[in-house]
Structures are given as C-alpha cells and as structure tokens.
Amino acid sequence: MTPTLEKPEEMQPLLDWFAQTADNPRAQLEAALARGEKAVGCLPYFAPEELIHAMGMRPFGLWGTGGLSCSLSAGYFPPFYCSLARTSLELALRGSLRGLCAVTGTLLCDTLRPLSQNWAAALPGLPFLPLACPQQRQEVYALTYFRSQLEGLARRLEELGGRPLDPQALQNSLEVYNASRAARRRFVALAGWRGGLIPPLTRCQVLKAALFAPVEEYLPRLTRLNRQLEALPDQPPKLPLTVSGILCDSPALLRAFEGAGFTIAADDLAQESRSFRVDAPQDEDPLLALAMRFCAQSADPLLYDPDPALRPRHLVRLVRESGSRGLVLVLQQFCDVEEMEWPALKAELDRQGIPSLVIGADQEMTDFGQASTLLEAFAERLG
C-alpha cells in the first residue's frame, strides 16, 4: 500500500530504531547485560514491569518467538500446547535467554500453569517467579491479596540482586510507565490515520519495541514519533480494522493485512493494547497502586468479570469508536482462552452487524498464504 502522505525526513530513523529493537531482542538484552543490569524475563500477562524497574532491574518481554522449530520443549509439552509457551521454553532450553537472572509469569491460563512447572524442572538455573493473580478483582480483599503477591515477588527479586524496594523509586517507575502507556495509546490512536505511513508491520514494531528497550530510551522516541504524526493531517483509512487475539507479530501475517488493503485502526491484543489500556492510579502506597492497576483490568478473556456482557460490549465499542469496518481474531492455535469465548463474542458481533473473521496462527508458521487469501476475501466483502 503506497502511503498517501509524505513521510517527514526525521521519521524514518525513528521507525528504523523501533524495527531494529523489536526484531533483535537479544541485542537489547546484551546491551543491558553489558551495562551490568540484571534482566528479568516477563512472560504474559500483565507483568509488573514497574516493580522490576524500580528495583534497578530490566524487565524483558518474553512472548515466544517466530522462526523457531521446537525440538527441546517437545520433551516437556505434548503437541497441543500454544506456541507462545513452547517457543519460550525452547528459547530457554537452547540458551537463547542466557543472561536473564529470572523469569516471572502470572499463571492466568491452563498452559502457563504447566509452563511454570516444566520451567522449574528443566531450568533450575533460571528461576521461575510465579505471580498468583486473583480473579475477584472487584473486591478489596483481592487487592490486599495481590499486593501481598507483589511484595513476595519483590522479596524474591531482591534475593536475586535487585535493589531493596523503595516506595519513591516505585512511584517514579509507575509514573514513567504510565507515561509510556499513554504514549502507546496515543500512537495507536494516530497510527491508523496517517495515510499508510504506519503500515501494520511498522505499527507492531513500534509497540513491540517497548517489550525489550529500556523505558528511558523507548518513551522519548515514541513521544517524538507521536509529535511528528500529530503534525500531519488526518487521512481516514480506506479499510480500518480491529484486530483481536493474544498477539499478531508475524511479519508475514502483518504484510498480508497490508496486502489486503487493511489498516489496523485498533487492537484488542494481549501483547499490545490490552497490556497498556489501564494505568496505575495515584496512591500514597505505590505497591497498592500497582496492585490496583491489575485489579482495574477488565474486558479481557483471561479475567473474570461479573457482568458477562462487559467484554462483548467493550469490543463492539472499540470497533465502532475506531471506525473499524470489521474485526479479525488472530487465534493462536491451542489457545483455549480465546477459543472458549469466540462463539459468544461472534454472536454479539453478528447481532451488532459487525463483520468478523478468524485467522488461525502459530508462531512456528511460516506460510500465511491461506491467511492472505482469507484477508483478501474479507477485504472484498467489506469493500
């Protein structure tokens, strides 16, 4: 898709930085280690990056990887497990995560449970620090419980060389991560309306770079990019789309979206907008504020909401407010969380007259020919 706006000269170096950062996480980790930093791998979902940051350590996103054929992790997981878990374990078993001092994860799905246990058995030298999450998030006692879990995680991190948790340092980290989240939300709002200057792959790279780069390097660059985008006129996209799922970061798949003429106007991806939708509030107890940030999450298939209509309503609103013509669910193979909710979600989308499509994906996939055909047909249908 040829952009209809002229790219400012100063934008491309920024986009190159985001692309290099997103596509070369190992280089980011090496740089952190060279600076003497202790890095902590952050598995999905809702990792408390601010806590890790406040303790002088580097949070390092761990969402599996593409381009890897799992062989070592096959000794732990039967084939019917999502590639995110299998490839993450594979990376660790191959030594590709050497340098990390620990890995943390929130155990919110039935694949993360055994992943934590297989990890502990297979990698005693790379501790898995589990973070238990309450589902009764609306209750005060859930907040109290989750705060205690964060405190426990902080103690484990201190044992591994993190600085003792200082409330002021955590307050500072909450503020800078809030700013990073706000900048990413702003970018998402701008990216689809700049005449194709930010195609789907570039959009993903800008957001994914946040997983690996230090926030001190990421935020100023994203802020500059947003300013450049804001200075350009609005150009409504021809085929705006909302994308939902756990992640959609395969370059081949993202090019297929672009090839079909789609602009990603909004997303409901666990790796992207779901992770930065909610900020930490102001509170005199910053650890409580961090707990509040998790407990304030809602409309996520992993999380319990007493109102069963809340999530479908949220997605319908997201599609409508973003001006999207439809929704595509990028369904990770063997993700029972997304599989279980899809029928009800589709029924609501149908009821609201919102066209939808499901594309199956797996991080080990290399050929997205079928997805490309489906997207082109979907575009024709919407066109």
């Binding site: 039967p78 246990q117 297989n118 006692y141 109290t144 319990y304 279980m340 009800a344």
Partner: protein, 397 residues
C-alpha cells in the same frame, strides 16, 4: 460372590443415582438447582440445603454411554472447537438443549464454580452463565505454583467464603447456619476417611478386585460426600470387600492409572490388562475426592490441594508415595487431550517416576471425546509396558 454382586455396592450405586432424581424432584417443586464444579466445597451448598449436580460427572457418564461423540459434535456446531475440554463442550451442548431425550440432570438455575483444578473451569461456567442467564457464584483459588497455600492465600479465600455464603444465602432466601455447615463438614470428613479406608484395601497383594471399580462410586463422593449416610455406606462396602475371598495368586503386575479415565473407550483400555491379569491398584483421581480437615482454614487448604493445584515436585512425591503404598509395578499414563494443565506436566512427571524405578508408558486419549483415542497405539503401548515389567522382574530375579 464377587465385588460386583455385593449388596453394599448396589446400595452405593443407588445412593449415587438418587442424586439426579432428587435434582429433578427439586426442579419440579420450583426449587433452584445448581451445577457445581467437582472440587467446589460441597459443604457450602449442603449447609444451605441447596440441591446441586456436577456436569463433569454427567459428561463422564454420557461419554461412557457412547454419547460423548454426538454431544461434542453438537458443541462444534455451536462454535466451540474440538481443542476445548470435552467435559466443557458436553456441558455447553447440554445447556443449549442439544441432548436428545432430555438430559440426565436438570439444567441449572445457578452455578457454583471453583477454578482450583483449572482456569478453563471459570471460562466454561462464565459461558454457561451467559447462555442460561443465571447467576454464577465463584470461589477463586488462583494457581500459586506453591507446594502449600500460604497465609495470604488463605486470607483471600476466607474473605471470599464470607462473601460467597452471604450472597448464596440471599439468593436462596435461607439464613446461613453455622451448625448446618459444621454438620456438612463432619459428613464430608467422615466420608473422606471412609473412602480412604476402602482405597487402602487395594494394598493387599491378593486383593481380588480391581481399583477401577472405585470409579463406580465416584458420583457419591462428588455429589453426596456431605451426606451423613455416605460414610456408613462406604464402610459397609469396605467390610464386604474385605470379606471377599482373596485372589488365588497375585496379579501379574500392579499398575497406577495416571489421568482421568478414557471414558469413551474404557473397555478397550481395560480389556488387555484384564486378559494379562494386570490390576489397577492405584490412580490419581479417586483419592482426590477426600477432603480431610479440622476447621475452616483447614477446609480451604484442603481444596487448594487439588491435582492441578500444586507443584510438579509435590505431585511427583505424592504419586511416588501412593505407588509405594499400593505396591505398584508400573504406571499407565493417559495423555488426556482435554486436560491442558494436567497433560502439560505428564512428560516430566513420567520421567520422574521412571527415575524412581517404575515402568511408565503413556497413551493418547480423551476423557469424553471418542476421537482422541487410537486403539492400535494403545495396544502397542500396553505391550511395551508388559515387556518392561517382565524385564524388570528378570532383572530383579
């Protein structure tokens, strides 16, 4: 006389079957009937006099009767893909009215959900709540990857217990009575102890009956463990089993069954074992329905300690202990396609048990979807297990 013709067996089977008749009778009277997760604290609805049914038990029974396939297909037609747990698919198909001839248990008016055994349980029940437009009462037991629940978790659970009992009490319009709750707890603990006593009879090398028979009584433990009559019936069964003549010779081999039974193909699974005089003398499911505790905190701790609720290391230690107590020679591991949290640790668990000297083989199957099982593969694996056991005996000799 054998174990299948014991009077106590029939009494227990009838007692278990009575649950669904009571549920239908309650429904006919206009009383609310609930669906309850297997490992939801049954003491709570028992204290409030609430009638409940277990859709997982229902799914197992339907799968055994050959109806798992059609109901899973019906769920597929509703948009629920085959990757999902077959118990939940069957439950969703039933909720959508897909059972010809009516369901064995009435559709629920409320839901009691506990996610101690898996995260999918909550999603399943949320779907049921949405489909049927009924209230869901959740006891959230998050997975902590710890061997034992800590004080913070017990505090969270205790707070939920208060809220839950208050809300349920308001829903049913009956006050919460501590004495009724204590009675339910005493019944549950007594049942658990009696159940343990029955299971321990399998330690006898000349025990004449097979451990798979314990699964016939599971509906009683699932649905009626708080009933004060249950322990007595179980002890009666224990006495009658103990009085049976011993087997003429020990079994050729004693196995532990790891995993939920492959209900749609159970005959095919058990036949080669019986032909070879191999007995199941241990399994991971039947002991798990006995919750023993002294007080509320103890109850909450007990319900945290489910099969998928603990660590792999503890799971390995518990299984090794069970295998030693029951004189197990080998482990037959069902890689249950439907149970992600469980099957995800089985390869490592198998290596752990093999490392302690047991012969271990696994086979692919599913707890309720008949499509997940390959008879030829199973036959090969059992043959392999027999050969390993024979080699082990020769090496020992």
């Amino acid at each position: 006389m054998d174990s299948f013709s014991l009077p106590a067996r029939q009494k227990l089977l009838d007692f278990g079957a009575e649950s669904s008749r009571l549920a239908w009778a309650a429904k006919d009277r206009g009383e609310p009937v609930g669906w309850m997760s297997t490992k939801f604290p049954a003491e709570i609805p028992a204290a409030l006099g609430l009638v409940t049914c277990c859709p997982e038990s229902q799914a197992a029974a339907l799968a055994s009767a050959g109806q798992g396939g059609p109901l899973c297909s019906a769920a597929d037609g509703l948009g629920f893909c085959a990757d999902l747990c077959s118990y939940s698919r069957i439950g969703l198909a039933l909720a959508a009215g897909c059972q010809e001839g009516g369901s064995r248990i009435p559709l629920p008016d409320f839901l009691l959900c506990c996610n101690n055994i898996c995260c999918n349980m909550l999603q399943w029940y949320q779907n049921l709540a949405r489909t049927l437009d009924i209230p869901l009462f959740l006891l959230d037991i998050p997975y902590t990857a710890q061997n034992e629940p800590d004080g913070e978790l017990i505090g969270y659970l205790r707070a939920q217990f208060s809220t839950l009992t208050r809300r349920l009490s308001a829903f049913v319009g009956r006050p919460w009575q501590e004495e009724a709750f204590s009675r339910a707890c005493r019944g549950a603990v007594d049942s658990a102890l009696a159940w343990q006593e029955v299971g321990e009879l399998l330690k006898d090398p000349l025990c004449p009956w097979d451990g798979m028979e314990l699964f016939d009584y599971m509906p009683v433990l699932v649905s009626r463990r708080c009933d004060p009559r249950t322990a007595g019936l179980l002890r009666e069964l224990g006495r009658e089993l103990a009085a049976l003549p011993q087997a003429e010779r020990p079994a050729r081999a004693r196995l532990m069954l790891e995993g939920t039974p492959c209900w749609p193909h159970l005959r095919q699974v058990l036949a080669p074992l019986r032909q070879a005089n191999i007995r199941i003398t241990a399994d991971t499911i039947t002991p798990s329905l006995g919750f023993v505790y002294q007080d509320l905190d103890g109850l909450l701790r007990a319900y945290c300690g489910t099969i998928n609720g603990s660590t792999l290391a503890k799971g390995l230690a518990d299984r090794a202990r069970l295998c030693r107590e029951r004189g197990v020679d080998g482990i037959l591991m069902h890689l249950n396609r439907s149970c992600r949290p469980w099957s995800g640790v089985l390869p490592q668990l198998g290596r752990g048990l093999a490392g302690e000297g047991w012969a271990v083989v696994s086979f692919d199957g599913d707890q309720a979807d008949p499509g997940g099982f390959a008879g030829a593969q199973y036959a090969t694996r059992v043959q392999g297990l027999l050969e390993m056991l024979e080699k082990g005996k020769e090496a020992g000799a």
